[in-house]
């Protein structure tokens, strides 16, 4: 299916209530503008999967009441401290957490991209992470006696959503060295991408660019969103807005402060 260049509102239409939404770690490119549009639209009961961690994006979606379950290896605000809405939602049981560890999420997505039912993973044995995962299995290595190893099942998402520097009109998206974005797209039914800009021509025609490009074959929709990762940064393009993130961390520490933040920075802003 050829990808289409759409508005953000149109592009995120496949992210419906109750769907499994896959999002990347902060440093790989986070579609924050699309996330604000999603919250304004009032999406509910998401099963959010982070590849493999999240920061502001997950905290905002949880605080905004959009998330029923989050499958993650960590949510924090990095240098700006704990993720306050995540922590509040977990301690009040308003959200269900499925705790993982980073390489388990990578492995589960890789199983989905390979089209195999599971992947084996070292570590984990004796941890409470494993103890609380009814969906993971401990087996004996069939190739060597006395070697227990954990299996994690393939993780298929309904929609993967991320932000990248550029795409072309054929939906090819330049992701550079952030290869997990390709894994996410391969593992998801549909992939929605926001980009800083549209590139003229076809990215696959340039061998140097093609090596860092996710083919449009995997991409459902592309929307142009300049500074679309703000207030997070986009590597090589712009840094995170530290003052804004500090303001968020301070406001989101209380429910009232978070409501004020949402009103001011999410609901009061119309899409550009």
């Amino acid at each position: 299916m050829p990808a289409a260049v759409r508005t953000i509102e149109e592009a995120i239409a496949p992210i419906i209530d109750g769907c499994v939404l896959l999002i990347p770690r902060e440093s790989s490119g986070v579609a924050m503008q699309a996330t604000r549009v999603l919250i304004r639209r009032g999406v509910k009961q998401l099963h959010l999967v982070t590849c493999p961690t999240s920061t502001l994006q997950a905290d905002l979606l949880i605080g905004g009441g959009c998330v029923e379950t989050i499958e993650t290896s960590a949510v924090s605000l990095g240098e700006f401290g704990a993720a306050p809405r995540f922590a509040a939602a977990v301690t009040s049981a308003a959200v269900r957490v499925v705790d993982a560890t980073c390489p388990a999420l990578h492995a589960a997505l890789e199983a989905a991209e390979h089209g195999v039912p599971f992947m084996p993973l070292r570590g984990l044995i004796g941890s409470d992470v494993l103890a609380h995962r009814d969906d993971w299995r401990l087996i004996d290595n069939p190739f060597a006696a006395g070697d227990a190893i954990v299996l994690v099942p393939a993780l298929k998402a309904d929609v993967a959503l991320f932000h990248a520097p550029m795409a072309d009109r054929d939906g090819n998206v330049w992701i550079g060295t952030n290869r997990e974005l390709a894994t996410m797209a391969h593992a998801a039914e549909r992939t929605v991408v926001t980009v800083e800009k549209l590139s003229e021509g076809n990215l696959l025609d340039d061998e140097l660019l093609a090596a860092g490009t996710l083919a449009g074959f995997y991409v459902e929709a592309v929307a142009v969103a300049p500074r679309g990762a703000w207030p997070l940064g986009l590597a090589g393009h712009y840094p995170a807005d530290a003052a804004h993130l500090a303001e968020y961390a301070s406001l989101a520490a209380t429910a009232d402060g978070f409501a004020h933040y949402l009103e001011r920075h999410v609901h009061a802003q119309r899409a550009a």
Partner: protein, 254 residues
């Protein structure tokens, strides 16, 4: 924290980084996770002292990593035994070096929720020298038994394990970890702190010699490197830390 130092003085962060530099010793590859400015400063200092060895990978940095295969490469690299040193912390750390990055209280209805286990439930098993780093040294953080095991300090025979903890550094002292006895021992106490104080603020029992040495101060050469090229490199990943500890501002770092 002490303020801007004359040449013979040093800040607490510089002492802790120097302790880590000594623990890193000779290594091929040191990786540092997110939100770890002091370990990152130490790894970059070790690289500067070693004229480019060890290789250093700072997660979350585009510039200070050679990874080109996405988020999986760190874990694949560790799985192959290509990472010698890594750093972990914990909301709680106990006397058997179990670490808890998840929650305090009942897991299903916790009193406190931490961010999550990150890569610890895997890396603790496969990185030969894991250095535990927790600046807050209190009975709240250093407990007798963790409420949730993100990763265990040791594993019984039969569990595949090529790595684990070697030490725990806090703002008061350095502990060494012995995997056979599954216990920490007090290796040195930082200047300005005492053994009695360490005992008072530690929630688990640990071994100690009759005489516990004072943690040696950083050398002038190490301090010079940290405050110069390392501080400028660090600014790329930890601008707030580089500015507050080393006084590096945007103009100096370019």
């Amino acid at each position: 924290m002490r303020s801007a130092p004359p040449e013979q003085e040093f800040r607490d962060e510089e002492l802790l980084a120097d302790v880590i530099v000594r623990l890193i010793g000779d290594a091929r590859h040191v990786a540092v996770g997110n939100a770890s400015p002091i370990p990152a400063a130490a790894a970059l200092t070790a690289r500067a002292l070693g004229n480019g060895r060890p290789a250093v990978s700072l997660l979350g940095s585009a510039r200070h990593t050679f990874f080109t295969d996405g988020g999986r490469e760190l874990f694949d690299c560790a799985g192959q035994g290509r990472i010698d040193v890594f750093f972990l912390s914990g909301g709680q750390i106990d006397g058997e070096a179990n670490i808890n990055l998840v929650s305090v209280g009942d897991y299903r209805r916790p009193q406190v929720r931490f961010p999550g286990s990150f890569g610890s439930s895997y890396l603790y098993y496969v990185v030969p020298r894991v250095i535990l780093f927790r600046t807050e040294h209190s009975r709240r953080s250093l407990v007798e038994k963790v409420d949730f095991i993100s990763a265990p300090g040791t594993s019984p025979p039969g569990v595949f394990r090529t790595g684990g903890p070697i030490a725990l550094i806090t703002n008061r002292c350095l502990f060494a970890f012995d995997r056979a006895s599954r216990r920490f021992s007090l290796a040195s106490v930082h200047s300005g702190h005492t053994v009695e104080e360490v005992v008072e603020h530690t929630g688990f029992p640990f071994d100690r010699a009759r005489h516990v040495p004072t943690t040696p101060p950083p050398s002038p050469q190490t301090l010079h490197l940290m405050r110069g090229e390392v501080a400028r490199e660090l600014h790329d990943v930890y601008p707030r830390f580089a500015a507050s500890v080393f006084g590096v501002d945007r103009q100096r770092s370019g």
